[in-house]
């Protein structure tokens, strides 16, 4: 919500005080914190050490089960597993595909989200609400089902091919291609992006748009200079989360993508399970983590930049 007030006033029940040490507060937050630390923090740490060749202790069993395990030869571990992965042409192909699909899908999702949200903000018509409602529908469908439904729809006996067959056109089978992954990724990412961007747009007061019109602004300028800058934060949130989500996705590329190259999410599962190379699997997982962190850092940096600009910091 855009506020024109200069000082922050907090309505609601949190007292407007500076954060202070509170035993009760920390105690109450302990259960979920512990759960996350033990089952997210710990595995990540142990997994990271495993990827560097630490095979004792909690990594003992997996080291016995797995193949092609590299054991550490320095105090800090070994880069052998990482070297394996980076020299694996399969991985490099996957990395390329993953980045390509992520960037393309994110851009398309944001463009669609912007188009629908801006349209809904400027022209309050029935079509606008219908578009928004449609865009949110995928939220209601579990990912596994979405992936399979899209597979059957665009597949060999799917609707698309059958439809064009009526006109004698042999439409290509889209499944097992990168395009299908892009379609599936867009389909599942739209709801969150629309919810974010549309709420950002709706929060812009009418007066700000009217004032621009009064100053003589044509629609393009209103969109570019007023609407988009004011909705910048939700747009960036939407873009970051969409990108991170697609980057590490598994089910969509599994059902819709080719066997090779595939997205890194699928490859991680392949290496861990079928190929029984857990160490290399974890190396890939950390590479994906790194990429996701990069996106997250971009998001935080842009947040800080815009907070500085608007004078909040």
């Amino acid at each position: 919500m855009i506020s024109l007030r200069s000082k922050n006033k907090e309505e609601g029940s949190r007292a407007v005080t500076r954060a202070r040490p509170s035993f009760l507060g920390l105690a109450l937050s302990l259960p979920p914190l512990l759960l996350v630390l033990i089952f997210v923090g710990l595995p990540i740490f142990i997994g990271f050490t495993f990827s560097l060749g630490f095979t004792k202790g909690p990594n003992r069993i997996i080291s016995i089960i797995g193949q092609q395990i590299h054991v550490k030869n320095h105090w800090w571990g070994t880069f052998a597993a990482y070297s394996d992965v980076f020299h694996d042409s399969r991985f490099l192909g996957d990395l390329g595909l993953t980045l390509f699909v992520t960037v393309l899908s994110t851009v398309l999702v944001i463009l669609m989200g912007l188009a629908i949200s801006i349209y809904q903000r400027l022209i309050r018509s029935k079509q606008a609400s219908v578009l928004v409602t449609l865009a949110i529908i995928p939220l209601f469908v579990p990912v596994v089902i979405s992936a399979w439904a899209i597979h059957t729809f665009y597949g060999g006996d799917g609707f698309l091919r059958s439809f064009f067959a009526q006109f004698g056109i042999s439409f290509p089978t889209l499944t097992s291609t990168a395009s299908a992954i892009v379609i599936g990724s867009i389909w599942t990412s739209l709801p969150f992006a629309i919810l974010m961007i549309s709420s950002g747009m709706q929060g812009i007061p009418d007066a700000l748009i009217d004032a621009a019109k009064d100053c003589g602004a044509p629609v393009a300028r209103i969109i570019g200079h007023i609407l988009i800058p004011l909705a910048k934060t939700p747009i960036i949130i939407a873009a970051s989360f969409t990108a991170i989500g697609i980057l590490g996705s598994f089910t969509i590329p599994l059902f819709l993508g080719p066997n090779q190259p595939t997205m890194l999410g699928v490859e991680i599962s392949n290496f861990f399970g079928s190929y029984n190379r857990p160490q290399q699997s974890l190396v890939m997982a950390f590479i994906v983590f790194l990429a996701a962190s990069g996106i997250a850092i971009l998001y935080v940096w842009s947040n800080i930049k815009s907070a500085k600009e608007s004078g909040r910091i």
């Binding site: 855009i2 600009e309 608007s310």
Partner: protein, 336 residues
């Protein structure tokens, strides 16, 4: 026949229906160039709707709007030669004061140097040059309003529209801002229309005031005329205080009847002894109002409110109230 030079704003036969209700009913208004007028009335009277139609945000159902002699009825707000200062100022929070003011000039395509000059001149006009790089969130409400004003003035509009300009300011600030606006408007000579529900505001700075009721203008005159010669009962009760009685006036006495009598508080005299045609009564309230007193006297079937500052009576005293001058209304209209 008015020449183009005389015309500030002309509204002819405006009509607007919203949600099945008639909001504006056959409204006419003629504002001279350089004149400052107010649209005054309670909420729901249609004054804001009228302003928005002048600005172009609301299309008219029928009628014409002429600004500086040009018919602008079919134009959108971006094409009209009007500039509006919104009630909550509507400054863009992500832009500095300078950028806010520069916005309309960028659209016109002026050069960077020209823009810088005009922006600084406009901010200088409202005494805010020192805040040119501040953001709206960093300055006070009154300062925000001045930036909004600068943004409107920098467009060199044919007509300036102000929507409830003083309602968000505190009392002390209001007087000062009122006078600043008046002084600025006189200096620049821009035709200005103000929308307000506050009669003190309207009466103190306008050349003429249009008192509105249910989508029509009941009277459009100078503040003095509105006060002294309110043409309708509605205007008489809306402007200033009024002692209102139903009945006829004969020899200074109120009798039963079909007319409506309105008496301004300063047209009542309070005396200790009966005067010719006076009414007896008991003092119920004595309210100090600064340099005068408001005295409420209860008489047999109603109250008199009078203003006086000599021989001020006390609570419970028996006094006699004489009517010096009265306004007579038949069917809501003033009769001589």
């Amino acid at each position: 026949m008015n020449t183009k030079d005389d015309m500030g704003l002309e509204l002819r036969g405006l009509n607007k229906i919203l949600g099945g209700r008639v909001i504006i009913d056959d409204l006419d208004l003629s504002v001279a160039k350089g004149e400052m007028v107010s649209l005054l009335g309670p909420s729901g009277c249609g004054k804001t709707t009228t302003l928005r139609m002048i600005a172009g945000f609301l299309p008219v159902d029928s009628g014409q709007i002429m600004v500086a002699g040009r018919d602008v009825t079919a134009l959108g707000p971006d094409k009209r030669p009007s500039a509006m200062v919104f009630q909550n100022y509507a400054l863009w929070p992500h832009m500095t004061a300078s950028k806010n003011v520069a916005f309309p000039l960028k659209i016109k395509g002026l050069s960077k140097i020209e823009i810088k000059e005009k922006v600084e001149a406009a901010l200088e006009l409202v005494n805010l040059l020192h805040h040119k790089d501040s953001r709206p969130g960093q300055i006070s409400g009154g300062e925000q309003q001045r930036v909004a004003l600068a943004r409107a003035l920098v467009q060199e509009p044919d007509i300036l529209l102000l929507d409830e300009p003083l309602s968000n300011l505190d009392a002390k600030l209001r007087e000062k801002v009122r006078e600043d606006i008046r002084e600025l408007q006189r200096r620049l000579g821009i035709t200005t229309v103000i929308v307000t529900h506050d009669q003190e505001e309207a009466l103190s700075i306008s050349d003429r005031v249009a008192v509105m009721n249910s989508g029509r203008i009941e009277q459009f005159s100078t503040p003095q005329d509105l006060y002294r010669q309110p043409q309708t009962e509605y205007v008489a009760t809306f402007i200033g205080s009024l002692n209102r009685f139903e009945g006829n006036l004969q020899d200074g006495q109120i009798h039963g009847g079909t007319d409506v009598i309105g008496i301004r508080p300063e047209d009542l005299t309070i005396a200790n002894e009966p005067l010719e045609g006076s009414h007896p009564g008991i003092v119920e309230l004595v309210i100090p109002r600064g340099h005068f007193f408001e005295v409420v006297v209860r008489r047999q079937d109603g109250l008199f409110r009078a203003f006086t500052n000599e021989n001020v009576p006390t609570f419970g005293e028996h006094v006699h109230v004489k009517i010096k001058k009265a306004l007579r209304y038949q069917n809501g209209k003033l009769v001589a």
